[in-house]
């Protein structure tokens, strides 16, 4: 049952073969036994989860069940959750019990889903390995000497290790897709503006977007149905008619044009990853798709552009952490300025401070045009590349990450090497496009490889169709990490 999809679990609940309290209890037991080794959760709150499960059972008994009613979902610790510790992986918020719910949390609550716990993450979502968390690194369930990716590493680990059937994540430069790839699960970053950012602790507001992480495309579609929708409290939330993201899952792929950017299959990509991705594309040809070469010439600029824009926005967003209204305050200080300086020096970790310093520098007097404005101009070129490419194809494919999961500690002392591990995912956030990663086999050391599927704006239903048809033809997505099967 721990390996069942959401539709199967929902059917069991509807048929009263199992109660939500029993189901939640099973996932909690597994989480409690595995978490000391994998560190996927920062907070488990058994009593609260079980109370939510009993309320869901009452909804089901009253005939008021939705698709996710009674299903346990792991929530990334970036989402403010009323009455729960909400840390964002930082010492700065290590004492923050949220007084309100994020929009995403409200949506899951209204659907009757059960919050099974808050997942570990890179501090303030800044990282690609989950090693920057104040709560310690998460381990990859396929190999505990490897990182799970980041920043949504706890969510990816929880789903891969079957501690939760599905989870939420957020993606500013690849933080859903890269950990999904490295942990062998499916994850989707929606078009910018589809999911409200209200109550989602901000990193880089023009790039941040929440999305689902689960075992299959079908499960992602069900999650997306709950998470998306207009919210007036987020000024960038888009007013659109609600969609059913499951509607196109069963469409055949005959005639689908897959664009393969020539810039994606170059020396940066490791051979093992290239082989798995090429095999996946061959499978798509069998399913009736054809491939066309496309070009994204500005792709190579996306990492430098991102490391100007994201830190600039972060330095502004994180100025709210001043030790006055909530969060960490240094125990000793001389005056107000000293209180700010010490609280922030002690409350933030090294990577967060590094990015605040970069952001402060590029926005400072005399450097604004050379860095910030130049980066915004290049952002337009990067977005324009995709618009051109989508004139020749329906969907773009490539690797999610240039390598399989790397070892813990391998890149943590070299920020630039760490930043380059997101080379394929970042351009999508700059353009605001939707994209996903699905499991596509294994590379070196039997570590998972992710296939990156990039869609045009609002093409989520089509991307899910493309992913689902592959998952009907292959079984990578149902494989569990070997050490956990016993």
């Amino acid at each position: 049952m721990l390996n069942f999809g959401l539709t199967q679990l929902s059917a069991l609940l509807a048929a009263k073969k199992i109660s939500s309290a029993e189901l939640t209890g099973e996932f909690l037991e597994r989480s409690k036994s595995l978490n000391p080794d994998y560190n996927a959760f920062i907070t488990l709150n058994e009593e609260t989860s079980l109370a939510q499960a009993r309320a869901a059972d009452a909804m089901i008994a009253a005939g008021q069940a939705h698709a996710l009613t009674g299903i346990p979902i792991a929530q990334k610790d970036i989402f403010c959750t009323k009455g729960w510790l909400t840390t964002c992986g930082s010492r700065m918020l290590s004492n923050f019990i949220s007084p309100y719910d994020a929009h995403v949390i409200e949506r899951f609550n209204a659907a009757g889903a059960v919050n099974i716990g808050k997942t570990n993450m890179d501090e303030f979502a800044m990282g690609s390995s989950n090693e920057t968390s104040f709560y310690g690194p998460v381990r990859n369930p396929w190999d505990s000497t490897a990182v799970p990716g980041g920043s949504s590493g706890g969510s990816a680990c929880a789903v891969a290790a079957r501690m939760a059937p599905a989870a939420t994540g957020t993606d500013t430069g690849g933080s859903i897709r890269q950990p999904a790839a490295l942990c062998g699960i499916s994850g989707l970053k929606p078009t910018y503006g589809l999911v409200s950012r209200y109550g989602m602790i901000a990193f880089a507001s023009s790039l941040d977007q929440a999305g689902p992480m689960a075992k299959s495309a079908e499960d992602l579609a069900l999650m997306l149905n709950v998470m998306t929708g207009f919210d007036a409290r987020d000024s960038t939330s888009l007013e659109r008619e609600p969609e059913d993201y499951t509607r196109d899952l069963e469409k055949p792929l005959e005639g689908l044009r897959i664009g393969l950017p020539k810039e994606y299959f170059v020396k940066e990509i490791n051979d093992d990853v290239a082989r798995a991705v090429e095999a996946a594309i061959a499978e798509y040809r069998k399913l009736g798709a054809r491939t066309v070469e496309v070009s994204l010439p500005s792709t190579k600029l996306s990492v430098p552009v991102y490391y100007v824009l994201a830190p600039a926005e972060a330095s502004s967003n994180l100025s709210r952490f001043d030790g006055v209204r909530y969060g960490y305050r240094a125990p000793e200080y001389t005056d107000l300025n000293d209180m700010y300086r010490k609280s922030r020096a002690q409350g933030f970790g090294a990577e967060v401070k590094r990015r605040i310093l970069i952001g402060t520098y590029v926005l400072s007097h005399g450097y604004y045009d050379a860095y910030y404005i130049q980066a915004q101009k290049l952002r337009r070129l990067i977005a324009q590349d995709f618009i051109e490419a989508f004139k020749q194809c329906d969907i773009i494919m490539g690797p999610t990450s240039p390598t399989v999961a790397f070892n813990l500690g391998e890149k943590s002392s070299d920020p630039v090497q760490m930043y380059l591990s997101d080379a394929y995912t970042i351009a999508v956030n700059l353009a605001g496009l939707p994209a996903m990663s699905i499991p596509a086999g294994f590379g070196n050391q039997n570590r998972p490889v992710g296939l990156h599927i990039i869609g045009n704006y609002f093409a989520e239903a089509q991307m899910l169709n493309v992913a689902h048809q592959y998952q009907r033809a292959t079984d990578w997505h149902v494989r569990m990490p070997i050490p956990l099967e016993t």
Binding site: F96, A232, L301, V324, Y326, T334, L336, L357, K377
Partner: protein, 95 residues
């Protein structure tokens, strides 16, 4: 361009983050590497390109000028580091 120790100190001060002499040196080395990467941007002539500040070309929504927030002072202050009589306490600023 190259960063100096003074740049790092100046920016740390602007960002209100205390930084020790040891940390300044480590930060300088790492930030210099990162700016080496960022420098690749300067190779492109962008004189005719309009900056893109956001992922969607949409206008900021306006809302009616009405009160939408309820009073939650007690709940918000219950998680503050230091409060007294409904006020947030900070070190004295004005003598």
């Amino acid at each position: 361009m190259s960063l100096s120790l003074d740049d790092v100190k100046r920016v740390s001060n602007l960002a209100r983050i205390e930084i020790s002499e040891d940390e300044v040196r480590t930060a300088l080395a790492q930030l210099s590497d990162i700016f080496g990467l960022i420098q690749e941007m300067q190779a492109v002539n962008t004189s005719v390109i309009k900056p893109m500040s956001h992922a969607q070309d949409v206008m900021q929504r306006l809302r009616a000028d009405v009160v939408t927030e309820i009073d939650q002072r007690e709940s918000f202050q219950s998680i503050a580091p230091k409060v007294e009589s409904g006020l947030y306490l900070v070190p004295k600023v004005i003598e």
